[in-house]
Amino acid sequence: MDESVPQSDEQIAERIQKGEKEQFGVLMERYDKKLSRYGRKFLWDKDNIEDIVQDIFISTFKNINSFDTSLTFSSWIYRIAHNAFVNGLKKQQKNSLPNFDFDIFVSHVAYEDPAVQEREHEEMEKLIAVGLDQLKPKYKEAIILHYLEDFSYKKISDILQIPTGTVGVRVKRGREALKKIYERMNIETHHD
């Protein structure tokens, strides 16, 4: 195989499944910083985050044969990461992410408009910097995955294993909550 041609995560995962175990290093290089950054939104202890990222990689390697290479690798590894960080969060605080939520009971309409979202992204960066830690965990994780990790609703739906419409609702409610927090803190937002 031509090593000079950049390969997708899914192609590399397939090579690992076929026995090229050393290729796992490439995936770790690609996801190390991303997962650490993702973990920092849940946890504060840097050493703990690094330990959890290491566990995520070990779990990913052990279970790589369960990965369906026709699906997205990023959603799959973030699903493992999500579970690991939520467990880390549970150890850190008692009332973290509830397993059950009424949002996933009925269907919601989720619509992603790329033009609106690009505009929102700039505004959201400011709002997130100010109020992310004050959000309810279920909104916080949706906001992190959508605005900071740049995942689509569909991929977030696979990571959190909830309906796509519910992701849309959580992102919308999280965004509204952030705006309220921002206003409460008496900081002016700029509307174009």
């Binding site: 690992i16 499944q17 175990k21 050393e22 796992f24 290093g25 770790m28 290089e29 190390d32 910083k33 650490s36 690094e50 990222v53 290491q54 990689f57 070990i58 390697f61 052990k62 279970n63 790589i64 044969n65 369960s66 996933i104 009971f105 009925v106 269907s107 739906s157 696979d158 294993q161 909830i162 309906p163 796509t164 419409g165 519910t166």
Partner: protein, 248 residues
């Protein structure tokens, strides 16, 4: 030490452990077997759930309790009182378990919980209704009557035909004779084991004697005193089976 150093150490360490075979991948077979176990579990829970749903329908029909709803509000109340709620609750638990197992699949976690639950429930009830129309339960019931089933299952089947208790105000029986404004009815409702004393039933004023013929199975709402019932309402019952041998 640079910021990247711990990350590099972590990656190198994991690669080293992979190289030394300290970290092993779980084989594909493991995940295939896991999927097979999950599917088997789904099938088992699904089959039990369909069987239970059909048994609930069968017991409501076999006891004749389904006919109670024709007695208006009081009949509905009685129907709800006699409904096998313990079995229905068990069915709900099975449906929740089924939904929980299904959520391991992508199509299921992408579906809102309520819709998935209603879908599973509709499927199990439809399956139950189809199964109830087969002779399966009647055949098992016959085995129960011949005491060929182990006690808990046999008792379950015998109880399907249990008539309401006498103090419920509802009586089930068969018309033996018709005289003037009186019916002589052999009640299924037991006083004691093996008691089948016929009772006289005075029919309500708004009901006509011609509605009834000897041999009709009826549900009677009324009050019993000295083996005589002053009926408020009498309705013919279809489909219900005779009480189990020890109650006859």
């Amino acid at each position: 030490m640079t910021n990247n150093q711990p990350q590099k150490n972590k990656i190198t360490d994991i690669l080293e452990r992979i190289k030394n075979n300290e970290l092993m991948q779980k084989p594909k077979l493991y995940f295939h077997l896991k999927l097979v176990v999950l599917i088997l579990l789904l099938v088992v829970v699904g089959v039990v759930s369909i069987f239970l749903a059909s048994f609930i329908l069968f017991s409501v029909n076999a006891s004749g309790h389904a006919s109670l709803i024709h007695f208006g509000m009081t009949g509905w109340q009685a129907f709800l009182i006699f409904f096998p709620w313990e079995l229905a609750l068990t069915e709900v638990v099975l449906l929740i378990l089924l939904e929980h197992l299904l959520r391991s699949f992508r199509f299921a976690y992408k579906t809102p919980i309520l819709y998935l639950f209603l879908g599973v429930m509709a499927l199990m009830l439809a399956g139950g209704a189809v199964l109830e129309h087969t002779p399966l339960h009647t055949k098992i019931l016959q085995r129960a009557d011949r005491e060929l089933l182990p006690p808990p299952i046999g008792r379950f089947y015998e109880d399907t035909r249990r008539p309401p208790a006498r103090d419920s105000g509802f009586f089930r029986g068969t018309i033996e004779t018709i005289e003037d404004s009186l019916l002589v009815v052999t009640l299924d409702n037991p006083v004691g084991r093996g008691t089948t004393t016929p009772v006289t039933v005075r029919i309500p004023e708004d009901q006509n004697l011609e509605e009834f013929t000897v041999g009709d199975k009826v549900f009677i709402r009324g009050r019993i005193k000295d083996e005589s019932i002053q009926a408020v309402q009498i309705k013919k019952v279809n489909n219900h089976l005779p009480p189990p041998p020890h109650m006859r």
